[in-house]
């Protein structure tokens, strides 16, 4: 976060100097950037935070050994979390639910929306596999009572069961439920809930730092022409267009 404030501070300085749109040469810019000090440990922590949140457990373990950066969470829990995520992504929802319950029974007991979405995903998988009878029974037994408790669940349930009404599901208005993106959506919802239950932020910090960088550049664009970073993946400074 401190990195961000350094940038903002610099922006303010530049703004104070320039009444009209000012041109900053690459040379000046690089000189200014040189004066900004970033601690190596901070960088490492951001990387570790990214690895942990995204669930790269082996990389995190290696990185811990090589850089000496301690993760803010027990790395073993990442393995469990990733196993859950993977199970949902592969369509093994029942397995995923059992794993979440082993990890922490509170998560699904106190998060009715997530629980409903997992059960809904289970129903979708049954329908995908053509198990119509089983799907109907499951909808009655497990999902209908949730729909009675919550109006918006009922609407979602109706949408899902509608899948059964179409011959050609790939071409029906609710067909998107069968899309792989639906699995990913459910998987990331479970992932976030597990992270929150472990008192861990559910999003990595690196993307928000980059978002702030883009925001700051957009602000600066109105005041000055300067070497801009346009491609985040290379972080190349591009010469100002004068």
């Amino acid at each position: 976060m401190s990195l961000f404030w350094i940038v903002v501070h610099q922006l303010a300085e530049i703004e104070a100097m320039a009444a009209s749109k000012k041109v900053i040469t690459r040379e000046d810019w690089e000189k200014k950037l040189k004066d900004v000090k970033i601690k190596k440990e901070d960088m490492n922590k951001l990387v570790m935070n990214f690895l942990v949140t995204e669930g790269y457990v082996d990389a995190a373990e290696k990185f811990r050994k090589e850089s000496g950066t301690e993760p803010d969470i027990d790395l073993a829990t990442i393995t469990d979390r990733m196993a859950v995520k993977k199970a949902v992504q592969c369509g093994n929802v029942e397995d995923a639910i059992e794993k979440v319950n082993d990890l922490n029974p509170e998560i699904l007991d106190t998060n009715p929306q997530l629980f409903f979405h997992l059960q809904q995903q289970r129903l979708i998988e049954l329908i995908r596999n053509g198990k119509v009878e089983e799907a109907l029974e499951f909808a009655q037994e497990e999902l209908a009572p949730r729909g009675e408790e919550n109006q918006s669940f009922l609407e979602e349930l109706e949408r899902t069961v509608a899948l059964l009404a179409f011959e050609d599901v790939s071409n029906c208005p609710v067909g998107e439920l069968l899309d792989i993106s639906q699995r990913l959506k459910t998987a990331s919802e479970v992932n976030a809930a597990i992270l929150t239950s472990q008192s861990h932020e559910k999003d990595p910090k690196l993307p928000s730092l980059l978002k702030m960088l883009i925001w700051a550049q957009n602000q600066l664009d109105e005041k000055a022409a300067y070497p801009r970073i346009n491609d985040l993946s290379t972080a190349m400074l591009e010469d100002p267009t004068v």
Binding site: D109, N111, Q140, V161
Partner: protein, 685 residues
């Protein structure tokens, strides 16, 4: 096509109940057999299966509880928890088996108890509560976690047993929980505080044991520790000046600053809990957090938290109420922050959770309790329609809250004058609530009627047509003194400046003998309302004064008895006004009042009116002098003879001595009386 699909869903929704029972009872006997199996693997598998079937599924929990699955699970936990205590040195394999069974059984029990009072009761009834505590000292961390989680679930219910902190061993135990390295265990400690700490003595004991300091240090812990700590701090500081000043002074004010900082946290739950903590500090000690900046910030924050779709949004209106309740300055700030419009927008949403619905109505009630500006804004939004719908809501809490809201809005004299409340939309549902099975709904409904009955247009007949008077008269004979009090108060207001037809209607419904008996109610505050009711009855035209003379004047006798025997100024004031109003009637009425004031058979006792004229309560003096003024009105033929009687009873000289009464009201009436006395010449001296 999709429409037929949705139709089949609604069929399946209603069919679910029967299909659930058939499948589960089959699974039940099987599960039950396996839970009681002697084979470890079978038992463990059964426990896991049970756990996975009930988590997140309230319907299943309930049916499994009914099928008696809680006791066998509790039995597994108990046997393994005690085995652990008895034989520390077990074979490793056996220990691992036991740990697994403990984790699974504790998780299942915790899930039965999660957010579900019937489950908590079943778990407590199974006698497993003390055994769960044994798990906290288990060598396996997973078992400790599972035990602590389950206990936390139980402590979130009102049904959980209270922990008495005044017992030293309990306090030591609590501190050991709070000092634990395990997050679930510190969380359990916080839950126990939140659940059990009620009295000031307990709060103080916790402070002295260093709990506040410990909780402050947990503010720096993980997300859940922070939230737990905020909630526990609020519990310990509520209405406890000592704890508040310890907290505010801690770490040279840094503890307070960190809580203020947490109102900007990214997690809504943390923001809500931090603001609740600050509200407790403010409401407990008037000397902290008084600057306009923090007040405005809290108002805006809480209004914003209403947008949260989950539990935070459900709790936000209650926190908002506690912030503004009885504080006109904060109500004004909230009004300026557009609170009425914002709350109204939430109220418009369909399918509101009953708790949120109740909270928003109560928050609106608090907003409208003092400021006319709030009430006019509320009425201009047509919010009354939504509130009148809420009067028929399924939840009794929502019905009560709707009444509270109506009561505060109907304090608006301007709108009462315009007759904006006594209408078809509000009166019939309100009258139906007088029959409500819940006493708190009844009382709340009566109190709205009390307010809107003071209607200056001629709409009272609507209320009578709906059968409202009949109901109120019934309720004024209730066993519950609060109900009697409120019913009489409502009737009193209904009687206020009513026309003679209306008054007679109420009187006939009530009957003289019942009125006489409520005047002599065992509760003084009920007596006062009864007398005030009679006072309004006899205010105005002669015909209504006649009413108190029916049945041998038993009402007037009851009034005299209260004036002689009761012992509070309030009762005397209302009683004296009754006599004063009656004395404004015909010669016959005036003589009857004289008879009450100065009985024929003089047994040497001082008349009560002398005592009232000498009272320290200026309102009582006013009422008493007013009666004398009415009795000695110069154009009445009998006034002179009454004056003579009053003179010989020492009343005239008493009035003369009051010519410079410190109360202007009394002074004015004393001078009127003296003016009337002089028209009869000097005979009065």
């Amino acid at each position: 096509m999709p429409s037929s699909a949705s139709a089949s869903v609604s069929v399946s929704a209603s069919a679910s109940a029967s299909s659930t029972t058939t499948t589960t009872s089959g699974a039940h006997s099987d599960l039950l057999t396996r839970l009681t199996s002697s084979e470890f693997e079978v038992q463990l598998k059964a426990l896991r299966e049970l756990k996975n079937r009930i988590i997140g599924n309230r319907t299943k929990k309930l049916s499994f509880i009914k099928l008696g699955l809680v006791p066998p699970v509790a039995a597994i936990l108990a046997s393994k928890a005690q085995a652990q205590v008895q034989a520390q040195a077990q074979a490793q394999a056996q220990a691992r088996h036991d740990s697994n069974l403990l984790v699974q059984s504790a998780a299942a029990l915790g899930s039965f108890a999660c957010g579900f009072d019937a489950g908590v009761r079943a778990v407590l009834d199974a006698g497993v509560f003390p055994n769960l505590f044994l798990l906290l000292s288990h060598p396996d961390d997973k078992v400790v976690d599972a035990g602590a989680r389950s206990l936390r679930m139980i402590y979130q219910s009102k049904l959980a047993p209270k922990c008495d902190f005044l017992q030293e061993k309990n306090m030591e135990f609590l501190l050991s929980l709070l000092n634990s390295e395990n997050e679930n265990v510190t969380g359990l400690g916080a839950s126990i505080i939140i659940h059990s700490c009620e009295s000031t003595a307990e709060q103080k004991a916790l402070c002295h044991a260093g709990v506040v300091k410990k909780l402050i240090s947990l503010l720096k812990g993980s997300l859940s520790q922070r939230d737990n700590s905020l909630e526990s701090l609020a519990t310990v500081m509520k209405n406890n000046v000592e704890a508040v000043s310890e907290f505010v002074g801690s770490e040279s004010g840094r503890a307070l600053s960190s809580v203020i900082g947490l109102t900007k946290d990214r997690y809504p739950r943390t923001r809500l809990l931090a603001s609740m903590c600050l509200i407790v500090i403010r409401n407990t000690s008037a000397c902290y957090l008084q600057d306009i900046g923090i007040k405005t910030k809290l108002v805006h924050l809480l209004l914003e938290l209403h947008d949260d779709p989950g539990q935070v949004g459900d709790e936000a209106p209650f926190a908002f109420s506690s912030l503004i309740s009885e504080k006109p300055d904060l109500q004004k700030l909230a009004f300026e922050a557009n609170a009425i419009d914002k709350l109204y927008n939430h109220l418009q949403k369909s399918q509101l959770h009953p708790k949120r619905f109740q909270g928003i109505l109560l928050a609106l009630a608090d907003l409208c309790s003092n400021l006319e500006s709030c009430r006019s804004r509320f009425l201009s939004l047509q919010a009354l329609n939504l509130v009148s719908d809420a009067l028929t809501h399924d939840s009794s809490d929502v019905r009560t809250a709707a009444c509270m809201c109506l009561r505060c809005v109907s304090r608006s004299i301007k709108n009462l004058c315009a007759g904006n409340f006594l209408n078809e939309m509000i009166v019939p549902p309100l009258v139906r609530l007088l029959d409500d099975p819940s006493t708190s709904v009844q009382v709340a409904a009566i109190s709205v009627i009390g307010n809107i009955a003071v209607d200056f247009t001629m709409r009272r007949s609507l209320f009578v047509q709906c059968g409202g008077v009949k109901q109120l008269v019934q309720l004024s004979k209730s066993m519950d003194s609060t109900v009697r009090l409120n019913a009489l108060w409502a009737l009193r207001n209904l009687m206020f400046l009513a026309d003679n037809v209306c008054k007679e209607g109420i009187f006939m419904e009530f009957t003289a003998s019942s009125l006489a008996s409520v005047i002599c109610d065992p509760e003084p505050f009920v007596q006062e309302q009864a007398l005030a009711l009679i006072r309004n009855l006899v205010d105005g035209c002669i015909k209504s004064v006649e009413l108190v003379f029916t049945e041998d004047g038993m009402i007037l006798d009851a009034v005299r008895r209260q004036l002689q025997n009761a012992s509070t100024d309030e009762i005397w004031i209302q009683g004296m006004y009754v006599l004063s109003n009656v004395a404004s009637g015909t010669e016959f009425h005036k003589e009857a009042v004289m008879h009450q004031l100065i009985p024929q058979e003089d047994n040497g006792t001082q008349s009560f009116i002398l005592k009232f004229l000498q009272s320290n309560e200026s309102q009582l003096r006013t009422a008493a002098v007013w009666a004398i003024v009415n009795l000695t009105f110069p154009s009445s033929p009998g006034s002179f003879s009454r004056l003579v009687k009053l003179h010989s009873a020492g009343i005239v000289s008493q009035i003369k001595s009051m010519v410079n009464d410190p109360c202007p009201d009394v002074k004015l009436r004393v001078r009127t009386a003296l003016g009337q006395f002089t028209t009869f010449g000097d005979c009065s001296t």
